[in-house]
Point group: C3
Chain length 311, copies 3
């Protein structure tokens, strides 16, 4: 995960078979990692273990060169894509909303940890929302993705102000950036129930599809298309530039110029130019692990997972 400085504190990445997933499933096909929320009897609600599973599988996807795109969806036999945090688990003393014994600064929102593992991922990420979504089902499980594809009948709400709890999963940062502060404020402070075509959510979705069963195939189609036809280093650098803007247009110009020079000298650029001239599809050889410059990431990288960590 690229918010951990890979030279100094990178954890060994667990191999796929040893991820120990229970609350989600994952499989790799055509260079696309398909992740599925797997708690249908609990309406795919968000558990502590689901948080751990998701961070692990997105870290794996970020690090493994075979993975060129990651799709998240949910077991469709449940009545919801994700019904929010598992309130029964919270009632049993889960750390989801903070352990009693933790001090004020020690808690680390598990939804935020998941959101960062997705937002900081160097691969294409797509959320395939095939049902209703409440709270964390709309924050962590949608906002940090590159693309969101949804069934038009999905009912959605972020009901935190009506429950006396706090907004989470970095939604107060991401939602304003994604769709503007007017819509973000309305969504977070009203607690309203919305459909994907609500004006309050305009701009959030790449595709809104009329049939629930169309969502996953559409997401996989986009994922496989980009896995096959897009340069992995062009994607990694583009996401870096989008997520880590300079403080002025001049600074961004210097960042983009340096990236342009680095990417321009890559095998992917040579292959891209050749394929363009030969009017054929490219076959890009570069991967983030092997071919990103040591200059990447150029922004300050902080591991905020440890309870004592600061910025």
């Amino acid at each position: 995960m690229n918010y951990v400085s890979t030279t100094t504190i990178a954890p060994a990445v667990t191999p796929f078979d040893a991820l120990g997933l229970t609350d989600i499933t994952a499989k790799l096909e055509d260079n696309v990692l398909l992740v599925t929320l797997n708690r249908p009897r609990k309406m795919n609600s968000f558990s502590e273990k689901m948080a751990t599973d998701l961070v692990r599988v997105f870290e794996f996807g970020d690090q493994d060169d075979r993975v060129r795109a990651i799709v998240l969806s949910a077991d469709p036999s449940a009545p919801a894509f994700c019904a929010g945090v598992d309130m029964e688990e919270v009632a049993r003393g889960s750390s989801l909303l903070g352990r009693k014994e933790d001090s004020e600064t020690e808690h680390r929102d598990p939804g935020g940890q998941v959101a960062m593992a997705i937002y900081n991922n160097r691969k294409i990420t797509i959320s395939a929302v095939n049902g209703n979504a409440s709270g964390i089902g709309l924050t962590a499980l949608q906002c940090p993705f590159d693309f969101r594809i949804i069934w038009s009948g999905s009912k959605m709400t972020i009901p935190f102000v009506r429950l006396g709890i706090a907004p989470e999963s970095t939604s107060t940062y991401l939602l304003s950036r994604l769709i503007g502060q007017s819509r973000a404020t309305a969504v977070l402070l009203s607690g309203a129930v919305m459909l994907p075509d609500s004006p309050m959510l305009s701009g959030l979705y790449y595709e809104v599809l009329p049939n629930r069963t169309d969502v996953l195939p559409a997401a996989l189609k986009l994922a496989k298309n980009l896995a096959a036809n897009a340069s992995q280093i062009s994607i990694a650098y583009s996401k870096g530039l989008l997520h880590h803007n300079g403080s002025s247009v001049e600074e961004q110009h210097l960042l983009e110029s340096r990236v342009m020079k680095l990417v321009g000298a890559s095998e992917d650029a040579a292959e891209g130019a050749k394929a363009f001239m030969q009017r054929r599809k490219p076959n890009f050889p570069d991967t983030p692990n092997r071919n990103l410059s040591p200059w990447y990431p150029w922004w300050k990288v902080t591991d905020v997972r440890h309870p004592k960590s600061k910025l």
Copy 2:
């Protein structure tokens, strides 16, 4: 008002009856403070006294625990919600656009003072736009609110470039954030007259209603719903997180985690969980005055009202 450090320089908050309002009226009902622009013969145009009145009444609303939401509307007998700054008052030497005797750095835009009193308010704020709005009627009196509800027939314009005056009321900050810089630039530089369903304003309004007389009831309905059913501290913290983002997603994660821990230990959270389990409406006891952590506000708070004040 929370941009004044409450520990050191907080003014005593004037009681409701002693606010001395003349250019607006205010009444408190069902925990909702209804503020009404009250210069119908002047097309509800913005006066120096209206600025003072608005700052006072929003400070009162911020500080008084009985107030759980604030609605701004305008006397409907006027042909406009607000026809802009009172140009006759300006011609008579009002300070609205700057006093002659003030130095270049001493002027404090009254529209900006009003905008900050609204934007920094810890309670829900709703602008109920029941008629045409020009200049400050669209900047200070709409942009800093959490929600905007409007009559579809309201004609609106920000004509500053066509009058040779400067944009104000922090509109050059708020408008880009609310609806994006493309729309904000078009609105501010064209001086065009727009209706609420103009693509240039897309995203600005929570509701656009076909009848002028529907606007205030819709705003009061939303205000009373949130006053009755939303946690005041959840709202205050959510607004703080939305308005004062950390400089990275990691920093926002730490802020949200701390807020989550604080709110999670509150009486409101306990009541919210209990009401959820019992499938009943909550009855939240906490208020910003009594129950916000001393850590709030976590951002640097500056009083910029004094002519010599700096950041």
Copy 3:
């Protein structure tokens, strides 16, 4: 160009007749500078010389008091507004994507140089997109403008990830600000072909017109209207406030208050008030060159064109 500190390193501005334009044409009429991409046989593709020409002509427009608005369009006999970077020139060793002999930090993206010359311009800028646009035709030649007017049939794409190249022209900065990060990410990472009415581009265009031949007349009409009726210093200050926000609403309030005081004391403000009272069109005398305060620009100005320049 205002990102060059005019007191210390301003280049002498070339007179109009000596600009040496070859890949674009330019003419001045009714205080509007009309710039036309002029490589119809090359589908108006972007060349090194076009970059130089565009920077020169926008610098001229910024500095010459006769110019009150600048419109960019393209020779309509070509099948595209701009087909992207001239790949044949790149194949011949052009600097467009970086010279081999330049070090990693020496390259300066020519598209970014053009984008900054437009974005930092103190005059009204309008892009009149009368045909298809690829890559730089949608980044440098649309994003940095104040207004974009387009033919509804224009096909557009930013195909960089599919070509193994990097995003440029400060598009990773501007696009998120203009239309939000959700849409910007989708546009940049999908490489999809879009029409102007695509939800992915919502908010980007001031006008979308059904006939290709309507685009330039509509742009000229808007340009001439603002050239005739808008205050040049009100526009310059408004653009400065929009592009160089303070770090908080309080800081923006201080900036706006100072601008208000400066503009309020101008001849334009006096003329604006007089014209308003007399119900006639104004005739604004001020210009940026003569009448902006020495305080403008109040932000840090950096020339990043030199290969060794840093921020």
